[in-house]
Symmetry: C2
Subunit: 214 residues, 2 copies
């Protein structure tokens, strides 16, 4: 059973939503994206297929909702007051997600299923639903003066996750906790050195700006 770990306020509507989203994640893992049908989800959740169409419109809408909820539920956003430690814990939370039995299978189902417009959309939503949660981690470090102003927050987030997804999904290498710590340390060192400062907002070579004549 997949646990979305979201708050479950009472009420039949809320209960059905959780049951359907859990059924969607389970079916996605078991049958893959291509084998995922509304029938299978309805059967598993014990609801009528028309309920799914009425609430989520389409299979894509339903899968996006399920994957977003799951991705957000898996995100463990640290706030230790120290950017090195925060990024290290965030990288370890990615590691835990990627190597988890259910969560890892879900990530594989979403990210290794081929290359269609629908899947690209789903991947973007997965990324965004987690980026929204983790952005404050980097923002707080800028406010505390641990990272320079103008730091491109989304690029920092991308660079923490990239080596982990790359190892697992591209190179198909085993994923160690050490590689999570390394990805965090690399990103933190570069961020502190100002490498992530947006060049468009802060000209890298102010000396090349034309000086007024006279």
């Amino acid at each position: 059973m997949v646990d979305l770990a979201v708050r479950r306020p009472g009420g039949r509507t809320a209960r059905i939503r959780v049951a359907v989203l859990e059924a969607t994640v389970s079916a996605l893992i078991e049958h893959g994206y291509d084998g995922l049908t509304m029938e299978r989800i309805a059967d598993r959740a014990g609801v009528n297929k028309t309920t799914l169409y009425r609430r989520w419109g389409s299979r894509t809408g339903l899968v996006v909702d399920a994957v977003e909820s799951y991705a957000a539920a898996q995100a463990d956003i640290p706030d230790t007051g120290d950017i090195d430690e925060d990024l290290r814990r965030w990288a370890r939370s990615i590691h835990t997600m990627l190597t988890g039995k259910v969560s890892g299978a879900l990530v594989r189902a979403v990210f290794s299923a081929g290359d269609t417009a629908e899947l690209r959309h789903l991947r973007q939503r997965f990324w965004l639903s987690r980026a929204v949660l983790v952005r404050p981690l980097v923002e707080r470090a800028i406010i505390r003066g641990q990272l320079p102003p103008g730091t491109n927050i989304d690029e920092v987030i991308r660079h923490v996750g990239a080596p982990l997804y790359y190892r697992l999904l591209v190179l198909a290498e085993p994923l160690s906790v050490e590689s999570a710590d390394l990805a965090a340390a690399v990103t933190a060192a570069a961020a502190k050195a100002g490498v992530f400062i947006d060049k468009s907002a802060h000209p890298a070579h102010p000396a090349t700006v034309a000086r007024p004549k006279g």
Copy 2:
């Protein structure tokens, strides 16, 4: 037509090898890994199927040889005397490969085709055939004193490529030259700061090592 850009010494044997490897890459791009058959490769190269089995043993052996040759032919290893510039050029060469019409299609065929033991082997060989070529770039920087001794060379190489492969193959985002430059700059800054120094070889916290008593 796929150009392996390898030296082609005269002789029928060498000519056949190049024709077969080019046919393999073309067929892989056109039909994908699952649709790749020895018949198709033999037809395209204008050779007998038995020739393929005699020289390469199996489909896997042939694909590994073709992909390795192609991956190596695409690698443009800079040597400018400056590690920042060398890593930037290397990242741009990855960018060129990933966005190239033929090379990008080949990378997709190798890295987005699912998750079998055979494909994992193929991906490892692809990575290794390029890593072998690019290692001297990092080694030279250590010798010149631009990077600290003990720097884990393979991790440096992984971290330059990771954000680019991640964007293209995992997030399915467009790949800009700026993102290549950023990946190189992030890795260079972290490498100079000593983040890639192998902790096993150089204890990070020597103070925690037990001191002799007395």
